[in-house]
Symmetry: C2
Subunit: 114 residues, 2 copies
């Protein structure tokens, strides 16, 4: 079975994370499970990769963190949630456009084999 190497998906970690956060603020563990689910198990992001993406994107102003309880009653251990900023939304949109372009370009090379 073909699997996706991190080398290949490398440029899209931020995009994947943002695509999830843009719908609803979330936190590390949940996002890693989401990525696995959405990719149908073909891509499993490493914890360290994920958390360092958070740090980087927060530093760049694309996301903001806030600590919150897991449920409204305040039960359980607090988690660090992230939400996408305006700038992050913009960044995400650019990444989506860039993806369309990249896809076309790579297809041009690969199709050459025919």
């Amino acid at each position: 079975m073909v699997e996706i190497s991190s080398d290949v998906i490398r440029g899209y970690n931020d995009t994947m994370i943002l695509s999830i956060l843009i719908k609803v603020p979330s936190y590390g563990y949940e996002i890693s499970k989401q990525i696995k689910k959405i990719s149908m198990g073909k891509y499993i992001i490493k914890e360290t990769t994920l958390y360092s993406a958070f740090t980087r994107m927060e530093k760049n102003g694309y996301i903001e963190s806030f600590v919150a309880d897991p449920d409204p009653e305040g039960n359980g251990k607090k988690r660090t949630y992230y939400r996408v900023t305006e700038s992050g939304t913009e960044y995400y949109r650019n990444k989506c456009e860039e993806w369309e372009l990249t896809k076309d370009v790579i297809e041009r090379f690969i199709e050459e084999k025919r």
Copy 2:
């Protein structure tokens, strides 16, 4: 205009180079021009990136180098040409399969925005 960042195409430099070499052995300068042409100027590979890809892929047994004259009459400065090995062909085929998968996976994330 949207341009392709090296960060995003990073995982595909080897694949692009191999897609060219698989058709006909070539050399650095020519390949860099080919990449620019095939990508319609959207992606210009850096010299250092290209040559270090050669070194790496030769070390991994995906390509082989040979020095040859630019034309049959032996005029001009000799160049270092590269050809794809059996192992490189296999590697390329895997990368193509991986591309199909990666494409589907990324689309799943991006399409979520709709």
